[in-house]
Symmetry: C4
Subunit: 98 residues, 4 copies
């Protein structure tokens, strides 16, 4: 099982959410912005390894991500790899985005 | 061990909590509302696989849930399956419900 | 390895924290209050199985807990048993206590 | 695999973050302050075992940590040892620091 990170995005509202994702690294400028749309009343399962535009996210590199949405969404971030159990956290800051 | 998701609901207050649950999917309209009551000063262990009315929740499908309560409750959501360790998060938004 | 739950309490302030703990169940009145003191600038590792006064916490029973403190503290709650990975969450409500 | 704790610090802003870390114990005064800088638009992976100045953090001892930053940062704290899965939590208090 290869490592991968995913973010589960929930848009419980009645308007589509336009989400911008930036990825931050230790030793270079951030990658992105990546853009996804979460339709109204839908979830979206985002796999970071699938991000390609404007560039793929480097493998085997620590990174952090910031998501901004034009309507309130809920983001749950999960990391899964072969050595570790998974992290789960609700990025409460997502609620504060404009 | 089959996969299952549970939510532990805590009503630490002195009035019964009437809770409404909606389940969101990637590619269809939300399911629900499901309704449960958490009595005053009690916990309730909700298994998503046990939800039947108005419809069972599909197996092997990613979903997200939103709970609303008429009094403040605490919700801890846990996912357990055979491939993954479990997720734990406290849905702090529950405190904000009316 | 037997199951156990622990709470790690951090008092980063300069006054001792007097903490009251109540434990909630599915089908009976809450147990407690249990009382512990977290000295100023100290941590305390609380094992729920060690709680004895006013009564031990039943084994093999689901429960939830609420902690109140007279000064701000941080509480991290951990559950460990032989079937599951552990849960970790920071009960942010602890910051809101008087 | 030896036990270790790490904190992933994210500075998504445009100014360097000067971070002060204090470590709290059960039975002695806190250690620190330790100081690290998280450059603008960068992440930093902090290994507690690597902290040396003003003193190393004792091994095999429970501790808790408090981080303060002069600009808003996000902190994700992870513990990994050979007996347990890992804890993940986002210390939302980090957002409240001045």
């Amino acid at each position: 099982m290869t490592s991968h990170e995913t973010a589960c995005l929930l848009n419980a509202g009645d308007r589509d959410a336009h989400v911008t994702l930036q990825v931050f690294f230790r030793d270079r400028e951030p990658a992105g912005p990546y853009r996804v749309v979460v339709p109204a009343r839908r979830t979206l399962h985002l796999r970071f390894n699938d991000l390609a535009d404007p560039e793929p996210i480097p493998r085997d590199t620590d990174y952090a991500s910031v998501l901004e949405s034009d309507v309130p969404i809920v983001v749950q971030h999960t990391r899964l790899d072969s050595r570790q159990a998974e992290n789960a956290l609700m990025t409460t800051i997502a609620f504060a985005e404009r």
